[in-house]
């Protein structure tokens, strides 16, 4: 009949100790730390020289940059659709206008061209262009009302 093997707790503990895996300590550990301390003492920033993964700030910077691009694109397309509205409003029967009104339409169109040309110069430039467009649009609308179109 097969007998069950048993071990005392002490025997198991011996087995555990015998199975020890030594921690391999890098031979250059102390030298590397000496070098680091010297750098800190000479005024360099006391940050660990990471040998493996990028720091959390690397990822935070990447995410911030991505968000900035997404927000910029969103504003770009939003502004583009706004200028498109002005363009649509001005898309009327130009051939029925008198010379003065045609000039005003041309002014408005130039304003639109200015908008698209100046967009990349920043939102403040865009704001100014929008003001001009509004002024042009108001002038054109007044003329249309006069000519009953």
């Amino acid at each position: 009949m097969k007998t069950q093997k048993t071990y005392s707790d002490e025997e198991i503990l011996t087995q555990i100790r015998n199975a020890k895996q030594e921690v391999y300590i890098p031979q250059t550990l102390e030298n590397d730390l000496n070098t680091l301390i010297d750098k800190w003492a000479n005024g360099q920033t006391a940050r660990a020289q990471t040998s493996a993964s990028p720091s959390k700030w690397f990822w935070a910077g990447g995410i911030a940059a991505s968000l900035a691009i997404i927000v910029s694109l969103g504003l770009y397309f939003q502004k583009n659709s706004s200028t498109q509205q002005y363009s649509d409003n001005l898309n009327i029967k130009v051939e029925n206008l008198n010379v003065a009104d045609k000039q005003k339409v041309a002014t408005a169109e130039r304003a639109l061209i200015l908008v698209s040309a100046n967009y990349n110069k920043g939102l403040s430039s865009l704001h100014n262009a929008e003001t001009h467009i509004k002024q042009a649009q108001n002038a054109v609308n007044k003329s249309f009302k006069k000519n009953k179109l």
Partner: protein, 166 residues
């Protein structure tokens, strides 16, 4: 504390710090980074280190917190007492695999994380319960519980394997 004194105090204990970091993080690169980060933090506080009674203990405490940050970054658990076995080590079916050392190591590696780390610090690195408490932040009573569970699990599974082949 000037650079020379700082080195005299902390370089000699850096090997111990590395062992603790390695047992907690189970990764060589992370352990090295953790030790460097710990010394960086200690360097930043060097003007106040004269007030510290036991610099080694303080260094281990700082290291522990650094390791916690590493573990959080990797979403590793640190204070789990009741987790199940990570793996259920299959019974070896070859004569070679029955060497006790190999079996015991596999059984220890399959323990829940904290049991595994505490067992290695205790029985492989000969840390006292107080030192393990310092390194892990777990109180001495819970360390004894972890060790007891770990030894019981290893014993039960080891006997199961032994009796299969005898």
């Amino acid at each position: 504390m000037d650079a020379s004194t700082f080195k005299n105090v902390f370089i000699p204990i850096s090997r111990k710090l590395y062992v603790v970091a390695f047992r907690l993080l189970e990764n060589r690169e992370d352990a090295q980074d953790a030790v460097q980060e710990t010394l960086a933090k200690l360097w930043a506080k060097r003007e106040n280190l004269y007030q510290i009674a036991n610099n080694e203990k303080f260094a281990v405490t700082v290291l522990r917190n650094v390791c916690l940050d590493f573990m959080k970054a990797k979403k590793m658990k640190f204070t789990d007492f009741d987790e199940n076995l990570i793996n259920d080590t299959p019974l070896p079916d070859t004569m070679e695999a029955r060497e006790n050392v190999v079996i015991i190591r596999r059984l220890i590696d399959d323990l829940p994380a904290m049991q595994r780390k505490v067992m290695k610090l205790k029985h492989w690195d000969n840390f006292s319960d107080a030192e393990i408490a310092q390194a892990t932040g777990i109180n001495a009573g819970n360390i004894r519980v972890l060790l007891s569970r770990a030894r019981r699990t290893v014993k039960e599974r080891f006997l199961k394997i032994e009796n299969k082949y005898h």
